[in-house]
């Protein structure tokens, strides 16, 4: 296929899966494709939204793109790009960039950018410290939202206090604050992100030019922090393993036992067991507020919601401690390794001039990177988890009033529809008539649930519309790693589906062969056995506790700078991420070879 003729299917040629039209229509009008969209290039954001989005979960795309675009277009005024446009079809999120190409406009925006972004860079530490305070305040505000209550009569004390506003209004207030907090959180998320990635990319691009054959992961190792928050949850699991041994209760932690069984057994062990449970409680707040996925879907529950992930790691860590191994991350050694790596590459540069430029660029990358690494815990994990759990409370309330069968069904309503359902309930409580929802929502929820299942069975093109000659939008290159080369690879992919090889990002070098354990959800992680090669959709640092027993890792989604890649490197495990199709093409138990240095997975049996 030549470049001239290269094109992905036009958006208008992509049809809504028959029978799911009503579910598709649930998404707001501004997310639907129209004929005018055929002129533009779109790509499927499989990195962040690898599965069909339920009606409610689309709020993540809305809030995130609103905030991302504000930052690039109007707050920091990135010279060459505006924000991200998005559309949804069959539950799949397609996005398109808005590059600025007019030189005069770029020049005008450059002036703005340098007054804004440069101020952030120059005052990074102060603004980042302020950011943490703002973020913690936002988290505290979300935690402080009252429980949802609709008593039969307004409590007497409310009346005697002359409160004047009844409990049903409280529901709307809490809901709107919940939603408002989520949209606000995404602004915080993007306050520094593009600037952080940009500074990192500056150093990255320099390294690629100075050392054309350097691997992405080596550059990542030069920049990545050693004491990032994202390592902390796994460190807490190690700490709990140590405490279990010290308290003499380690025998309770056996592979295959559920957390509930283990905790019940510990209760019966008296003081030592209770001490361990208290240790668990301190670890849980806040460090177990980490999601098993990237936090973009309501069903990416946190360790706090489902303890099976951290508990899955405990037997292995306990065995290591009893074998006399230290589970401490050798912080000092890791830091001096990083310093040495930076120094060694510096020495290889061709001139003193280049060395000085290198020092400037890595200095800036180190300055910004704590944010790039740290924000995820607060935003995508802790806050997102609070948010979806609050929505779940509304789900439970509405389910109690017969709007639908299960609290999880609430996620099949858009956030507009959810507000309508809440107002329906408020009205019913106020006027004594039964709510209308129970007659309205169950069929709709059932149809949408079926539609999600149907959409998940259909693959979707990686991109739509005419292929641009160059991808000159730094936001797209930076956040999604999409280049002209990757588009060409996608265009080719259609022709070699029969191959025995899968390609992805070389995340952590080394070659390993072994049986694949294809894990589609966190409930299945109990199946992972020592020596297996983990094959999953998203690798995530929250999965770190099981990295100790696997021989390698393969994922559908993720880049070489993903935290999963960083954790794999730290464990010294070969890993290939971002293969696109690993969980659908690799069978459970199939022998595979992972070449983490080249980013290739080979199917052997």
């Amino acid at each position: 296929m030549t470049r001239e003729t290269a094109a992905f299917p036009a958006p208008s040629s992509l049809k809504v899966v028959p029978g799911t039209e009503a579910a598709q229509a649930a998404y707001p009008y501004y997310m639907q494709f129209t004929a005018a969209d055929d002129q533009r290039f779109w790509f499927y954001n499989s990195m962040h939204f690898p599965e069909p989005m339920s009606a409610f979960d689309m709020v993540t795309a809305e809030a995130a793109y609103c905030a991302l675009g504000s930052s690039t277009t109007r707050v920091h005024c990135i010279p060459t790009t505006l924000g991200i446009d998005y559309r949804i079809i069959n539950g799949r999120v397609y996005i398109g960039g808005n590059a600025v190409t007019d030189p005069a406009e770029i020049a005008r925006r450059t002036g703005e950018f340098q007054q804004r972004a440069f101020y952030y860079y120059a005052n990074w530490e102060r603004l980042y410290a302020q950011w943490r305070e703002k973020m913690l305040a936002l988290i505290r505000a979300a935690q402080a939202l009252p429980k949802l209550e609709l008593p039969e009569f307004e409590p007497l004390e409310h009346v005697h206090a002359g409160r004047g506003v009844a409990s049903n209004h409280q529901l709307l207030d809490i809901y709107q604050k919940t939603l408002e907090g989520y949209f606000r959180m995404w602004h915080h998320h993007f306050e520094f992100l593009l600037l952080g990635y940009g500074a990192y990319m500056t150093f990255f691009a320099f390294c690629k030019k100075a050392f054309p054959e350097i691997s992405d992961q080596t550059i990542a190792r030069m920049v990545a922090g050693i004491e990032a928050e994202i390592f902390r949850p796994d460190e807490e699991v190690r700490r709990l393993a140590r405490r279990a041994v010290e308290l003499g209760v380690d025998a309770e932690f056996q592979e295959g036992r559920t957390p509930q069984v283990i905790m019940a057994a510990l209760e019966k062990r008296g003081a030592a067991g209770r001490s361990w449970l208290e240790e668990l409680a301190t670890s849980r707040d806040p460090w177990f507020n980490i999601n098993v996925g990237d936090g973009f879907y309501h069903y990416h529950r946190s360790w706090n919601d489902d303890l099976s992930m951290p508990f899955a790691g405990l037997p292995g860590y306990i065995a290591s401690i009893k074998a006399g191994e230290s589970l401490e991350r050798p912080i000092g050694a890791l830091q001096s390794q990083r310093r040495q790596l930076i120094q060694d590459y510096r020495e290889l540069l061709g001139s003193e001039e280049e060395r000085q430029a290198y020092d400037q660029m890595i200095g800036l990358a180190h300055r910004v990177f704590p944010y790039v690494e740290g924000h995820k815990f607060y935003c995508e994990h802790w806050y997102t988890n609070l948010f979806f759990n609050k929505i779940r409370e509304f789900g439970a309330l509405l389910a109690r009033h017969g709007f639908f069968a299960r609290e999880e069904d609430v996620f099949h309503l858009t956030h507009f529809e959810l507000e309508a359902a809440i107002i329906d309930l408020m009205t019913s409580w106020s006027n004594g008539s039964p709510p209308r929802g129970p007659a309205h929502w169950p069929d709709i929820v059932a149809a949408r649930r079926a539609a999600i299942a149907e959409w998940a069975r259909h693959s979707t093109p990686p991109a739509l519309g005419p292929v641009p000659e160059v991808i000159d939008d730094p936001a797209i290159v930076m956040l999604w790693g999409i280049t002209r080369e990757s588009l060409d690879a996608w265009l080719r992919a259609g022709t070699d589906a029969g191959s025995r090889e899968l390609r992805g990002f070389a995340a952590s070098s080394g070659v390993v062969e072994g049986p694949a354990c294809v894990v589609r959800s966190v409930e299945e992680i109990g199946r992972v056995r020592t020596g297996d090669i983990l094959v999953c959709q998203i690798t995530n640092p929250t999965w770190a506790p099981i990295f100790q027993k696997i021989a390698g890792a393969v994922s559908d989604i993720g880049g070489s700078m993903s935290h999963a890649a960083i954790v794999a490197r730290e464990f010294g495990l070969p890993a290939v991420v971002g293969t696109g199709t690993a969980t659908s093409r690799i069978r459970d138990g199939q022998r595979i070879r992972v070449d983490g240095g080249r980013g290739i997975v080979t199917l052997l049996s």
């Binding site: 990135i78 010279p79 060459t80 770029i106 020049a107 925006r109 450059t110 002036g111 950018f113 340098q114 972004a117 440069f118 860079y121 120059a122 600037l195 940009g198 500074a199 990319m201 500056t202 691009a205 320099f206 030019k209 100075a210 050392f211 054309p212 054959e213 350097i214 691997s215 080596t218 790596l341 060694d344 590459y345 290889l348 540069l349 061709g350 001139s351 001039e353 280049e354 000085q356 430029a357 290198y358 020092d359 400037q360 660029m361 200095g363 800036l364 730094p474 930076m478 070098s509 240095g597 080249r598």
Partner: protein
């Protein structure tokens, strides 16, 4: 002839250390006594081997027959009939005359007796090198005194003789190296470039022969991209002449110089290898089928080569092209030669980036066109 030499050098060989030999032998220098600064007296190849030996890098032991030996030999020839003047008198476009002169001079060089003090020194050095095993093979290699770039053009100066056994054969090969200065190609080259004859001299390296299981080359800068952060290793079974001569496609690896990460493993079909021939020298033999597509280096050996490459590059302070071999019996890696890399060094022009007054300006390479604030 061998026994006669032994009696002649009996006095010399009783000396206790190579250092003594060096101070005593006018025409010989040991590797550990020379460095890059000795190039005019020992030639580039020997100077480099000496430099590596002194840096503690394992090089097959050996000595160099200094240019002074060549001068002494030439002086003896000149007393019989002119040599340098005969060449200087030639016209560069008169191929017929050059050919005739070359033939005559080379015959004289092969036939004339060696001055006795030369023979004595060489015999002493040879005995010192081989000790109780005088028939152990050696490699005899020319070591030219001219600059690297020009060196390659003196095709005749690149002579290397492998698996040379015994003093007599060694002396013959030393003469052959000297005589190669008077090959038609060498003479023509000098005439064309106006190279003054009185400056023409040659040293000769005599070195223990490595019976190589595997040998090859490595580059401390990528030959394809000029990247300084990788080491490219090429190797094949047997002696390196098969790789250098292009008779076999070598296996090829690319390693991160700092990280050791192996990013490329190209294992080729190595159908032949060069091994010692019964009559001296090397011969090409077929590689057994089951070894043809087997990597000729283990990962441990690759990492050892990488460490060696880094050490040598640091020692010289610039990128190097390195020849190495792995001894069949001991498995030890030995260095045969190290030359400065020239192709990419010549291409280095504009720096990848220059320091900015305001370091923040660097981000404009990502976010937009750089402009003044």
């Amino acid at each position: 002839m061998g026994s006669a030499f032994v009696s002649m050098v009996a006095a010399v060989s009783s000396r206790s250390s190579p250092e003594h030999c060096v101070s005593a032998l006018t025409y010989i220098a040991w590797f550990d006594a020379i460095g890059l600064g000795d190039r005019p007296q020992v030639g580039g190849k020997a100077a480099s081997l000496g430099e590596l030996t002194r840096a503690g890098i394992r090089v097959p032991p050996g000595y160099v027959v200094r240019t002074a030996a060549f001068e002494r030999f030439l002086a003896a020839l000149e007393r019989v009939a002119p040599v340098r003047a005969a060449v200087a008198a030639l016209r560069c476009d008169d191929l017929e005359a050059i050919t005739a002169c070359s033939r005559a001079l080379r015959r004289r060089m092969q036939e004339a007796a060696l001055p006795q003090e030369l023979t004595l020194d060489l015999a002493a050095a040879h005995e010192r090198l081989l000790g109780a095993h005088p028939d152990q093979p050696v490699a005899v290699r020319s070591s030219a005194t001219c600059e690297d770039a020009a060196e390659a053009s003196f095709a005749g100066l690149q002579d290397t003789y492998l698996w040379v056994r015994g003093l007599a054969a060694t002396l013959e090969r030393v003469r052959s190296c000297w005589a190669s200065l008077y090959s038609v190609e060498s003479i023509s080259y000098r005439l064309q470039h106006g190279f003054p004859e009185e400056q023409v001299a040659m040293a000769v390296v005599v070195q223990s022969m490595v019976d190589a299981r595997t040998s090859g080359v490595m580059f401390t800068r990528s030959p394809t991209t000029g990247d300084r952060s990788v080491v490219t290793v090429e190797g094949a079974w047997g002696v390196g002449s098969a790789v250098v001569g292009g008779e076999v496609t070598p296996d090829r690896w690319v390693l991160g110089k700092i990280t050791g990460e192996i990013s490329v493993r190209d294992i080729s079909d190595k159908h032949i290898q060069h091994v010692a021939a019964a009559a001296g020298g090397v011969e090409a033999v077929a590689v057994e089928d089951e070894r043809r597509r087997v990597p000729c280096l283990s990962d441990e050996e690759l990492q050892e080569l990488r460490a060696l490459a880094r050490r040598i590059e640091r020692h010289y302070g610039r990128a190097q092209d390195i020849e190495w071999a792995i001894d069949r019996a001991s498995g030890a890696i030995l260095l045969l030669q190290s030359r400065p890399e020239t192709v990419w060094a010549a291409k280095d022009a504009a720096p990848v980036a220059t320091p900015q007054q305001d370091p923040l300006m660097h981000v404009m390479s990502i976010f937009g066109k750089p402009q003044c604030r």
